[in-house]
Amino acid sequence: MIEARDLTKDYGSKRAVDGLSFTVQPGVVTGFLGPNGSGKSTTMRLILGLDATTRGDVTVNGRHYRDHASPLHEVGALLEARSVHTGRSAYNHLLALAQTHGIPRGRVSEVIDLVGLHEVARKRSGQFSLGMGQRLGIAAALLGDPKTVMLDEPVNGLDPEGIHWVRNLLKSLASEGRTVFVSSHLMSEMALTADHLIVIGRGRLIADTSVDDFVARASQKVVVVRSPALESLREALAAPGVSFEPAERGALEVHGLTAEEIGDAAAGAGIALHELTPQQASLEEAFMNLTRDEVEFATEMEKAVA
């Protein structure tokens, strides 16, 4: 379990994380979603105590990360930035981490095999491809059999097989009752993996919701209707907050009403409908609708500063 309360981080005059409060529950995969530069990586560094908070507080499994006696058994983390000495082999990198907790050598080999790095484990990690580096980072995260797993953009650089494997891994870890917190800037990736979503933009919380609710909430109420009596239908539906736009082939796009509301209104007025189609926003559209304001605001700010 990860609990953040009013988490805030300034770098100089720039506010990277702004009053974030959220709880990441065990047993489900929680996606941490936001555009690039929205503060996801910073939030993860704050959780691990690598960066100090400017304001607010964050605990993992009930304590500040720093106060755990066996941190690697509490949290296994993959950070976005490279965090391996390029001159050291994967095996020795993991061994040095394991030794801080008295984790036996056998475990090092075990996680190396698990992520499929067995054949290159003794090579200098500086020679690794991006995907191999990601696998090594995942191996490090799993080393301590942690109660909470936190991965920053884990599928970056992975091939399709690797991506599929990470999805299965995350679900498997969550099904064992662990807390799984995984960040991405791709909504489509999260939709396939996550049960719950925490969405941020420009360091602020935008949504803390299940994936299904997120899509429903983010989708604008848009319904396409066709009717032989479109003008009468317009009059029947007219209300504050409802607007119309012409659609293809003489259809009408109704904004601000659900299909049920339109159907009921049409039946009440005795108007025949030939089509009544709710427009489901795609996940990526839903995500962009939610974060658009934040992104636009950020761009304007950058222009103003420049």
Partner: protein
Amino acid sequence: MSTLAPNVRLPRLEVTGRVAFHRVLLSEWTKLRSVRSTKWSLFAGVLLTIAFPVLFSFVTRSHWGSMSPSDRAGRHPLDIALAGVNVAQLAVAVLGVLLISAEYSTGSIRSTFTAVPKRLPVLWAKLLDYAVVSFVLVLPAVLVSFFASQAILHNIPQLQISFSDPGVARSVIGGAVYVMLVGTFALAIGAIVRNTAGGIATFAAIFFVLPPLMFTLPTSWNNAISQYLPSEAGRQIFSLHHAAHTLTPLTGGLVFVAYCAAAIAIAAVLLVRRDV
């Protein structure tokens, strides 16, 4: 890369241990020995510690017959034996900076501090590991240098000196102690500056630029101040003769230890406070 098992399940870890200092010490030792450049730097340092006095001895022996009395008087057997210390200190200092600055440049410091979030045990472990390693490597090197140079100079009675003569054993062993302390000082500099080039430059400025700069001061000032510079105070640990305007070996050694302690204290405070 081997293929990934489709059935993903993380095997459980039956034994769970706490972070403890002896474990961090072992972890830092693994890091120290598992980077190739580290091994080569130390090997080069040891080799130079021995090679310089040997070369110096051969040159002195072959030119002794043609040297003027004043040149001969300027040659001291212990200076010849410990000629490699100046070179060894550079190798050990560069590696000392690198041991921590490379963690920042490669980003491995994030892994390190994730495993040991209290951070300070990492600094203590690095210092202790490195002090032991550098002392254990440089001590035999200075001993070999001493006996090898004496053997090469065996037919020059004026340059014969016994290990049991007053101050000789202290100076020879002091050479290794000095190099060890330089290593800890440099490691602390590396932790403060967190950048390889900057760390080495800072070390060079303190040890090689500052002392000659003192000669621009009025002589009385220079005489009063120079002896307290880290390099000059530390040098007394392996100096046989107590020259004018220098500290005694014990005082000089203590002053140098104080410099190391101060650098380490600053490094420790910054290590805990700064973001990584």
